[in-house]
């Protein structure tokens, strides 16, 4: 199934160049390029070969780890994508971690105090967070913390060689991305926790005299976290994609902004390579989620074995 998805995506990407109007070579080279140069570049890019041959070439290359060369300065796409990828991945995972660290306890808190004032306040917050798009959150954070207060930098990602500086550049974008997911996670955790809290084994634990917080975090959460893990898997895909807006607002280098700029410049090899990497990461994330599911919930394992 996973393999089928990857194959379909790659075929589509291979054909992409020809689906979109406009001659990529002319766009890339600009108005003063001679026809001879345009022809030569077209031949080098393999754009004159029949389409199926181009797709097969792309497959073969990708299997070797060679995603082609970009149209503009003939640099290897793998290197270009590779230099941008870490920034997007770090941003997505940091946002995910932040969302989990804030959202899960928030959900548990609300679940252990159902229908109280705190629960309602938390619900309100969660829903507000869910409805705020990442770019709106990003702009607000930017205005408040970078422009008005000047506490944190507004643009760029900093240098990986200087972790402190990199972290400072990461705070606002990661928060912007995380906000929506804090809301989602809080809601999901709350709902599944409430379901679990009504179960017999929880009542038994209480009857044993165990402390409420222990019951909540150690017993109920462990079971309630299963649907949350599924959500986290989906959120990773969204974070990788939604990172584009945040990357543009904060002028961070990353896969999203790389692909957007490449599309405008008709730099197809980069679009292809970049989208392929994102697709692969998405697929891998979902695979990891499935496996974690299996690990966390013995019932799934047992069912699978019984089959």
């Amino acid at each position: 199934m996973t393999l089928a998805v990857v194959v379909v995506v790659m075929t589509f990407l291979g054909v992409l160049v020809h689906l979109i109007p406009g001659d990529p070579v002319e766009t890339v080279l600009g108005p003063r390029a001679s026809p001879a140069l345009a022809e030569r570049v077209r031949a080098e890019m393999g754009l004159n070969d029949p389409v199926p041959a181009q797709v097969v070439d792309f497959f073969r290359g990708a299997a070797r780890g060679d995603l082609g060369r970009d149209f503009v300065n003939n640099a290897p796409v793998t290197a270009i994508v590779g230099s941008h990828l870490p920034h997007t991945v770090i941003l997505a995972f940091t946002a995910l971690a932040a969302a989990a660290l804030l959202g899960i306890p928030l959900g548990v808190y609300a679940a252990t105090r159902p229908d109280t004032l705190m629960d309602r306040v938390t619900s309100l917050l969660s829903v507000s967070f869910i409805t705020m798009p990442s770019y709106v959150a990003g702009l607000l954070l930017l205005l408040l913390f970078a422009v008005m207060l000047g506490w944190l930098p507004a643009t760029g990602a900093g240098s990986l060689s200087d972790p402190g500086d990199y972290l400072r550049h990461l705070i606002l974008p990661a928060t912007a991305l995380a906000i929506t997911w804090v809301g989602y996670l809080a809601r999901i955790v709350r709902t599944s926790m409430l379901e679990v809290m009504g179960a017999n084994y929880i009542r038994a634990a209480r009857a044993l005299g165990l402390r409420e917080r222990l019951i909540a975090y150690r017993y109920a959460l462990k079971n309630a976290v299963v649907p949350t893990v599924a959500l986290l898997g989906v959120s990773l895909g969204d974070l990788l994609g939604g990172a584009v807006f945040v990357e543009l607002i904060f002028s961070r280098p990353g896969l999203g902004s790389l692909i957007v700029n490449a599309i405008a410049n008709r730099n197809f090899p980069i679009v292809r390579g970049g989208v392929l990497v994102i697709a692969l990461m998405f697929v891998a994330a979902n695979l990891a989620t499935d496996l974690t599911y299996r690990f966390l919930d013995p019932r799934v394992r047992v069912e699978a074995e019984a089959r």
């Binding site: 140069l37 503009v72 422009v147 643009t155 002028s251």
Partner: protein, 551 residues
């Protein structure tokens, strides 16, 4: 529902020994975590060494080049090889890294000697002898600038190498026969025909930059993003999408001192920020010291005392054009009528917030030659326009107005639509992709477009010649006199003669009403009042970063 009052006994030996229970532990860790989470960024924000906004030149004048200059680029660099440079930002970088035989002085179009100690042209314009300054070093131990490097630099662009490199800028050296090396530092540039743009655009422009043959041959394609020149700044590092770092070249041969004084910056950092909104913020927070801002932001910066806005009217032009082969627009009176009905002043106000210069003809006022002082001004006159339409016997026209995504295009299209509605002409606006539009030029009717331009008018007139029909002559207009004048003006060396020829060409365009001129593109740069930028309008790169000064 906490019924139990029992204290939970900690299982962990560590926590047990500290004799606090888990709840206390978590609470304390939580407090520490919150404090750290808020405190650390605050602490580091207070550290001036780490604060990107605290650059020395904001209000302080460093002695002997110890400052760091941060500049916003509108996009990331793509290819720094002068033969292939696709965008203005590439030239902006190379202006600091490389030098030519001659160069433009900032603030005008004067051309002065740079690498050339002496430069002499023959009367027929076909031989140009140069003598290089001696001892000018290339960066990175690539030796001195020699006549061989000059030969290499120019001949490769002209397509004279084997195999030819197919440079995008081959036309700049269209008539080059070769560069003859007569000594280590001397040589002769030989042209098959006189070429007027040579001294106005080729030699002082990026196609005239002298690069190191040794470096180019050794580095191959890597020179596109790691070039070697003789300029005051070395290309040090490129963090893709983030930063281009240039550092003062300690062994600079100082060939450019006739252009400007010794630069004061230790480092120049160019930051690609594609989004205008993000760029505005970067300027406001001081993360960049100088950056191009959009028309919409200009008022905000001019109204703020901590910033200054420098304006630059470029040679780039925008116009509403007519496809003269379209049956509706083939009649010149129809085109004249439309031209007379358009309210260009409103377009400037609405589409550019009034922050741009109105154009009345092809060649901008600051161009060294070719500006038509007496170009007619077409102010909106609906009655006269209607009369022309009636004369043409045309009524109830429906036309398509094609635009692409570029600043101001949508509003201009809407104004055209409104203006022409009063003539009974229905206009449908069609927003298109550049590449797609260029593939369907036969179907064009009305359009708004803008071209970039450099200091020689031939680079503007060329796009309106018959050769360019189906390419960049969107009007599909063909006029023999115009074509002939364009050819002749390329080889005419007498400046006054040339000037008259370009004026005549613009008169022809006006008579045939092929265009309703709208604007000359104006750049606005926001910066601190303590920073004095240095503008270089004739160069693609538009400003000379190394000549920025603290006031």
């Amino acid at each position: 529902m906490d019924g139990s009052q029992q204290r939970w006994v900690p299982r962990s030996p560590v926590v047990g020994r500290l004799a606090i229970d888990r709840r206390e532990f978590l609470r304390k860790v939580g407090i520490v975590g919150v404090v750290a989470g808020v405190g650390v960024p605050l602490l580091t924000a207070c550290d001036p060494a780490e604060d990107p906004g605290a650059t020395p030149e904001n209000g302080e004048a460093p002695e002997g080049g110890t400052g760091i200059l941060n500049i916003r680029l509108v996009q990331d660099i793509e290819n720094l090889d002068p033969a292939f440079m696709p965008a203005t930002v590439d030239d902006a970088v190379m202006l600091c890294v490389a030098e030519g035989l001659v160069g433009f002085r900032p603030g005008g179009t004067d051309v002065v000697n740079v690498l050339a100690e002496e430069f002499e042209s023959s009367d027929d314009g076909q031989t140009h002898e140069f003598q290089l300054r001696e001892g000018i070093a290339f960066h990175g131990d690539y030796g001195e600038v020699t006549a061989e490097d000059v030969k290499f630099s120019f001949e490769r662009i002209a397509g004279l190498t084997d195999p030819p490199i197919e440079s995008t800028y081959r036309d700049d050296w269209a008539t080059l026969e070769g560069v003859e090396v007569t000594g280590t530092y001397t040589g002769v540039i030989r042209l098959s025909e006189p070429f007027a743009p040579l001294m106005l655009t080729t030699l002082p422009g990026h196609a005239g930059l002298v690069i190191s043959q040794a470096a180019w041959e050794e580095r191959g394609e890597d020179v596109a993003t790691d070039p070697i020149g003789s300029g005051p700044y070395e290309f040090v590092e490129w963090e893709r999408g983030q930063l281009i770092l240039l550092r003062r070249f300690p062994d600079w041969g100082e060939a450019s001192l006739e252009i400007a004084d010794e630069p004061q910056w230790e480092e120049i950092r160019l930051r690609p920020i594609a989004d205008d909104g993000a760029a505005d913020i970067a300027v406001e927070t001081g993360e960049v010291d100088f950056g191009l801002v959009s028309h919409a932001s200009v008022d905000r910066f001019t109204g703020d005392d901590s910033f200054e806005v420098t304006q630059q009217t470029t040679f780039d032009y925008g116009w509403v054009g007519f496809n003269v082969t379209d049956e509706a627009l083939a009649d010149v009176n129809v085109r004249r009528a439309i031209r007379l009905a358009l309210d260009v002043d409103s377009m400037i106000e609405a589409a550019f917030e009034g922050h741009t210069t109105r154009a009345h003809a092809l060649v901008a006022p600051d161009m060294p030659i070719g500006h038509w002082d007496d170009a007619p001004t077409y102010d909106r006159d609906v009655e006269a326009a209607q009369a022309l339409l009636d004369e043409a016997g045309v009524s109830d026209l429906t036309l398509e107005m094609s635009i692409v995504e570029e600043p101001g295009s949508r509003i201009i299209a809407e104004i055209v639509q409104q203006n022409l509605a009063e003539l009974g002409i229905t206009v449908n606006i069609n927003l298109r992709e550049r590449a797609e539009m260029r593939e369907n030029l036969e179907n064009l009717q009305l359009f708004y477009f803008s071209f970039s331009n450099s200091a020689d008018p031939s680079w503007a007139t060329v796009w309106f010649t018959s050769d360019q029909i189906g390419e960049w002559n969107f009007m599909s207009w063909s006029n023999e006199d115009f074509d002939q004048l364009h050819e002749e003006a390329l080889t005419e060396l007498d400046e006054d003669e040339r000037h008259d020829m370009y004026v005549r060409m613009q008169e022809i365009m006006d008579e045939e009403a092929v265009a309703a001129w709208v604007m000359y593109r104006t750049h606005h740069y926001a910066h601190s009042p303590n920073l004095e930028p240095s503008l270089l309008t004739p160069r693609y790169g538009k400003y000379l970063a190394w000549d920025f000064r603290t006031a």
